[in-house]
């Protein structure tokens, strides 16, 4: 680990990310989609939070809101605070310093996230020069150091490679190198291993965890895969229909979810040793988000639904033990 990329953790007690009552609506002429409906999340420095959810649950929209990467049609409301700064209040110039400096993001598909007409070395160097006003020579040296950090073999030669010349796993590592170029305090990861093969996925997950520990970064990692969350998360937030329905430390949550949705999800995930048994499924499909949910959004699919308590109002989070919470009326608060 080189000193150049090491980083001092922030004083504890001050969360790195503080989301309060985040709402995101996509408004168009025909319809309004309520993608995120009141999300509260905290992330401590040096912590890995997985946002787990199916497509349309609002997990990626929540992630993008942290960096203000949403399109103009999005109406974002609520408090977004990252590293003590109000993201909503930033102007365009501040945002440019903030993105890539304090916060960086890695995406699912490195082929579209990297620029095809610049070499890997140029793309890392550009980030370093933009944020740290480094000279070209310093930037090149840093690029090489970063490629070694993300364990790209024959790094020196690969600096001159274009993205299409690398395999999928190496491209993903190169994108991680670009993201880490300015030692961000917060790394946002949007399903970065979903497109990779199993043997490569585990390599990239282990690399991310190692770098996160070395650099003391906070990481928000979006995934739909329970297994991936189990490998990388400290804490997990399960999203459904734009709400966090359950949140807690990864071990207890995966060992025994409180909310019926993650319980169903765990039952529907194929494990070894389920051969010949019928898979338990969650009947139906997630609700359309053209109207903001007025009751528990999972109620129509829930095996334990109780009318009218479940549909009368959105259940508030209840916490049976410190650190865990679920939005379900069946959970008994301590």
């Amino acid at each position: 680990m080189s000193a150049a990329v090491a980083q001092q953790p922030l004083p504890t007690g001050n969360p790195l990310v503080r989301l309060r009552d985040l709402h995101v609506r996509f408004v168009s002429r025909d319809a309004t989609v309520h993608a995120v409906n009141g999300v509260d999340l905290d992330l401590a420095t040096g912590e890995v939070l997985c946002i787990l959810g199916e497509s349309g649950s609002g997990k990626s929209v929540t992630l993008r809101a942290l960096m203000r990467l949403l399109p103009r049609t999005a109406r974002v409301e609520g408090g977004i605070e990252v590293a003590g700064r109000d993201v909503q209040a930033m102007d365009e110039g501040e945002l440019q310093d903030f993105r890539g400096g304090d916060v960086a993001m890695i995406f699912q598909e490195p082929m579209t996230a990297l620029d095809p007409v610049f070499t890997i070395g140029q793309q890392i160097g550009e980030t370093v020069r933009r944020h740290e006003k480094a000279s070209r020579r310093e930037a090149d040296a840093r690029a090489l150091e970063l490629l070694e950090l993300v364990q790209i073999p024959s790094a020196k030669r690969r600096l001159a490679a274009y993205p299409h010349e690398l395999s999928g796993g190496l491209r993903q590592r190169a994108m991680i190198a670009v993201a880490l170029a300015c030692r961000p305090k917060l790394l946002l990861a949007d399903e970065p291993t979903t497109a990779l093969d199993a043997t490569v996925q585990i390599q990239v997950l282990l690399l991310l965890r190692k770098l996160q520990e070395q650099m003391g970064m906070g990481v928000v990692f979006v995934t739909h895969d329970l297994g991936v969350a189990g490998e990388i998360a400290d804490r997990v937030a399960v999203m459904y229909a734009g709400k966090v329905v359950e949140e807690g430390p990864v071990g207890p949550l995966m060992g025994g979810p409180l909310h019926p949705y993650p319980r169903g999800l765990l039952g529907a995930t194929v494990h070894p040793g389920m051969r010949g048994k019928r898979l338990t499924t969650i009947p139906g499909a997630p609700p359309s988000l053209e109207r903001a949910p007025t009751g528990c959004p999972f109620a129509p699919r829930c095996p334990e639904v109780e009318e009218p308590a479940c549909t009368a109002a959105v259940p508030a989070p209840r916490s049976p033990v410190p650190g865990r919470a679920a939005r379900c009326i069946h959970v008994v608060a301590a």
Binding site: S55, Q203, L206, G227, V228, G230, E231, V270, R275, T280
Partner: protein
């Protein structure tokens, strides 16, 4: 013309494999230069031999570039073979029926395929009912009967015909579209269904619904499946036998329990060890394999896995390992499993 309303009869008897493949090969030339000469060859499928037994589900696993999808397209004859032979229930595929063969049109009626991308594989301008009825009409079923069958199949895959029959693909969710694709594949009453990553694009809760449906349909229609996936847990759940591919070759094949409990090929072991543990208390610290799968353009000599194999020895570079028989239909192409192969970890030859 074969009547389109009944599944074709079993000709070879239960002992004959439904589909026997021998030495399947497909190379793709890469052209370049001034005159478009072949500058390199992608050896996508390179000498693949296996059989699909009647009534079984054969799982095919492997990483991207290993040739599993090319194999599926060869089985469907969407691609022409470079070399090798295919025998369907005792009849040579693509040969004249005078010489004991089966023509491609008849073959394709009995073998159908479901693709990964549920949206791209449906005609966006046809209501789903018409998409399903299309093939039976092509094969000679009158329009009314074809539509009746489409509705019956929609019912069978769990989509109420009254509600769904006239809908277009964009009006359905991913899971519903994949059900339509499955219904369409069944419309010709096939005997063999090739499923190429049928649940990979679906959410977990929907994936379980579709897997349950596939199990039910197999029972109800007496089907045989070839199930291609990169998800080892899903393959273990649904398969009777499993075939592991690596760089265009069969690395290991055997009954599902043998492959998952006693994997003999180091690649199979690494693949199995790469699965997330689902238990945060038992996290790994070292990846089971380093590096990406090599490019199938210039595969390594000898054993193709040797460049990533922790047990590789000089002898591995010399020859492509023949299949070592481990009993019970379990075969691995690794010198460590082959007695007397010259590898230091190979079992001794019995005297």
């Amino acid at each position: 013309m074969i009547p389109a309303d009944f599944q074709a009869i079993d000709r070879g008897g239960p002992g004959t494999p439904l589909l026997a493949l021998d030495g399947l090969r497909k190379h793709f030339p890469i052209r370049g230069g001034l005159f478009g000469r072949t500058v390199a060859t992608v050896r996508a499928v390179d000498g693949v031999t296996f059989a699909v037994r009647k009534g079984e589900t054969l799982g095919i696993v492997g990483e991207s570039g290993c040739g599993k999808s090319t194999t599926a397209r060869l089985l469907m004859r969407l691609l022409d073979l470079d070399a090798g032979s295919m025998v369907f229930d005792g009849e040579g595929v693509g040969q004249d029926s005078q010489t004991g063969g089966i023509g491609l049109k008849d073959y394709r009626r009995q073998v159908q395929m479901v693709f990964q991308d549920s949206y791209a594989s449906l005609n966006p301008r046809l209501p789903i009912e018409d998409s399903i009825a299309f093939a039976p009409r092509v094969h000679g079923l009158p329009g009314g009967e074809a539509r009746g069958r489409a509705r019956e199949l929609l019912e069978a895959v769990g989509l109420a015909p009254a509600q769904f029959a006239r809908r277009y693909p964009h009006e359905l969710s991913g899971g519903q579209r994949q059900r339509v694709n499955i219904a369409r594949a069944l419309a010709l009453r096939p005997r063999l269904v090739l499923l190429d990553e049928p649940v990979s694009a679906l959410d977990k809760s929907v994936e379980a619904q579709v897997l349950n449906l596939l199990v039910d349909l197999k029972e109800r229609f007496g089907l045989t499946y070839v199930f291609i996936s990169h998800d080892l847990n899903v393959v273990q759940y649904i398969s009777d036998r499993v075939l592991v591919m690596y760089l265009g070759e069969v690395a290991e094949i055997g009954p599902v329990d043998a492959i998952y409990e006693r994997p003999a090929h180091p690649y199979t072991r690494a693949l199995l060890a790469s699965r997330p543990s689902m238990d945060p208390a038992r996290r790994r610290t070292e990846p089971p394999l380093t590096g990406d799968p090599p490019n199938p353009v210039n595969p390594p000599s000898g054993c193709r896995f040797r460049t990533r194999c922790p047990h590789a020895e000089p002898v591995c570079a010399e020859q492509s390992p023949p299949a070592a028989n481990l009993g019970g239909g379990h075969e691995a192409r690794c010198l460590m499993a082959l007695p007397g192969s010259g590898h230091s970890q190979a079992p001794r030859l019995a005297a």
